[in-house]
């Protein structure tokens, strides 16, 4: 049960239930610093719930244990510390609609990291340039396309200089022509040293970018391996069935 020395995120016996319905059945998982992990699986398999437990957006059973950089994830004062280290990108962007794009990116560093305004603004403009949104800095989220909004959301998460980035189906709410621009930004992020855990239905992207791929079904980790292992030589019948269904349509 002990945590591997090299792992940044450690999940032990993660169990989560809504009343009588168990969504996660005792999941064990270690993710190393700098690793890019893609989580795939059918809808309702618990993928999103798994990553939402890592920053405690979902409460989970008390016997379960998750640590990020050695800090236990649980309600209380230490949680803010974990959340400052763990950025998250949501399926529906969740940008703050009443603030300009620039302010969206500046807010958390100013409030949580106590950055000064010029410092936060310099950093925000740099990040917006990195995700290709420089020209839209003064606009409001509602004036941007979905793909642009999601790139702002990535910049907003990066502004906290997190060690971990969680992506909860970041391209599922996008029009097909905008998926590419968001995946491009994520591809550039992978390999910058930030640890990424990505719930996705984009199999091509997972194969190309992931260090490891996790296949989940029915609230269990069915199979973990390199993209080649999962996509080319899956051991489990359930993995093969899922891949057949998503790849041959």
């Amino acid at each position: 049960m002990e945590t591997q020395a090299s792992s940044l995120i450690s999940v032990r016996g993660l169990t989560k239930a809504y009343g009588n319905f168990t969504v996660l059945h005792g999941i064990d998982l270690d993710i190393a610093e700098g690793e890019v992990v893609c989580v795939i699986g059918p809808s309702g398999s618990g993928k999103s719930t798994l990553i939402r437990c890592i920053n405690h957006l979902e409460a989970f059973a008390e016997e379960s244990r998750i640590t990020v950089d050695g800090i236990r994830v649980q309600p209380g004062p230490a949680l803010a510390k974990v959340r400052a280290e763990v950025g998250m990108v949501f399926q529906s962007f969740n940008l703050f609609p009443h603030m300009s794009v620039l302010k969206n990116v500046m807010l958390a560093p100013m409030r949580v990291r106590k950055s000064t305004v010029p410092e936060a603004e310099r950093k925000a403009r740099e990040l917006l340039a990195r995700v290709g949104i420089s020209e839209q800095a003064e606009k409001f989220p509602g004036q941007l396309s979905g793909g642009q909004q999601q790139r702002v959301a990535i910049a907003r998460a990066l502004a906290m200089e997190p060690r971990v980035l969680l992506f909860d189906e970041p391209t599922s709410a996008l029009d097909p022509e905008m998926v590419g621009e968001v995946l491009d930004v994520m591809r550039k992020l992978a390999g910058t040293g930030v640890t990424m855990v990505i719930v996705t239905h984009e199999m091509g992207f997972a194969r190309q970018v992931a260090d490891r791929v996790i296949f989940m079904d029915g609230g269990r980790l069915v199979e973990i391996g390199t993209p080649a292992e999962i996509f080319d030589t899956p051991r489990e019948e359930r993995t093969r069935g899922f891949l057949r269904a998503v790849l041959n349509h």
Binding site: R83, H98, A108, R111, G142, L166
Partner: protein
């Protein structure tokens, strides 16, 4: 024929002399305007205290422990149920028996603020609940504290939604200040009834009614415009 016409005209004159007697109105106008000042003092103070109290109750209800939440719910329900006139009379005439002696002004402001805070709390709660859950999640994921989540993210959005119902509540508080006249507060209505008694003519009452309308009509019109604006879904 002619006599009847003359009588009709004199009836008309009587009516004007009774209800719109210009000399009486001019005489009572300074008194009415003093009453208006008192009405505004009571109204504005109660609105501000009610707003602060209501916001505090609404936010506490989100984050306080279960027992405190229950207390807040009880407060909101009780003060929305009690007739304001009854509360005012209790505050002014009953509290002295337990040693709490409030001036007419303080009694009026206390009663109005207690009730206004209850309504305002409900309005803010509805406004906060209308904000998509994703906004709370995004704030939490960024590590924002509850306080900053409220101040920077939730309230600025919720306040836009609640401006029409809040303005409505302000109108109600302003109207209800007239009840202060029953605890001998020299507000607009009290001054008007006194001037009426003095001049043996109801014109000051009509004057007071017109002043209330002149004060509140613009607010009513603003609410109507805001509601139209928001129902159109524009930001």
């Amino acid at each position: 024929m002619l006599r009847r016409a003359a009588k009709g005209a004199s009836n008309g004159m009587n009516l004007i002399n009774t209800f719109f007697n210009v000399p009486v109105l001019v005489d009572s106008l300074p008194q009415l305007l003093w009453g208006l000042v008192v009405t505004l003092q009571i109204g504005v103070t109660s609105i501000l205290v009610g707003l602060a109290g209501g916001l505090f109750l609404a936010v506490s209800r989100l984050y306080a422990p279960a027992f405190a939440r229950l207390l807040i719910r009880g407060y909101v329900d009780i003060f929305r149920s009690i007739p304001l006139l009854v509360l005012l009379i209790v505050v002014y005439y009953a509290l002295p028996f337990v040693g709490i002696r409030l001036s007419p002004f303080m009694s009026a402001v206390t009663a109005l603020s207690l009730v206004s805070a209850a309504y305002t709390a409900e309005i803010f709660r509805a406004g906060i609940e209308a904000i998509p859950h994703g906004q709370f999640e995004a704030s939490a994921a960024l590590g924002l504290s509850n306080r900053h989540t409220m101040i920077d993210v939730i309230l600025p959005q919720a306040i836009r939604i609640v401006i029409p119902p809040l303005t409505n509540n302000c109108i109600n508080v302003m109207k209800d200040t007239a009840l202060a006249s029953v605890v001998a507060m020299p507000d607009l209505l009290k001054q008007a009834t006194q001037a009426q008694a003095l001049s043996a003519n109801p014109t000051p009452l009509i004057g007071a009614a017109l002043i209330y309308i002149a004060l509140l009509w613009p607010m009513v019109a603003v609410v109507a415009r805001l509601e139209k604006h928001f129902s159109r879904g524009s930001r």
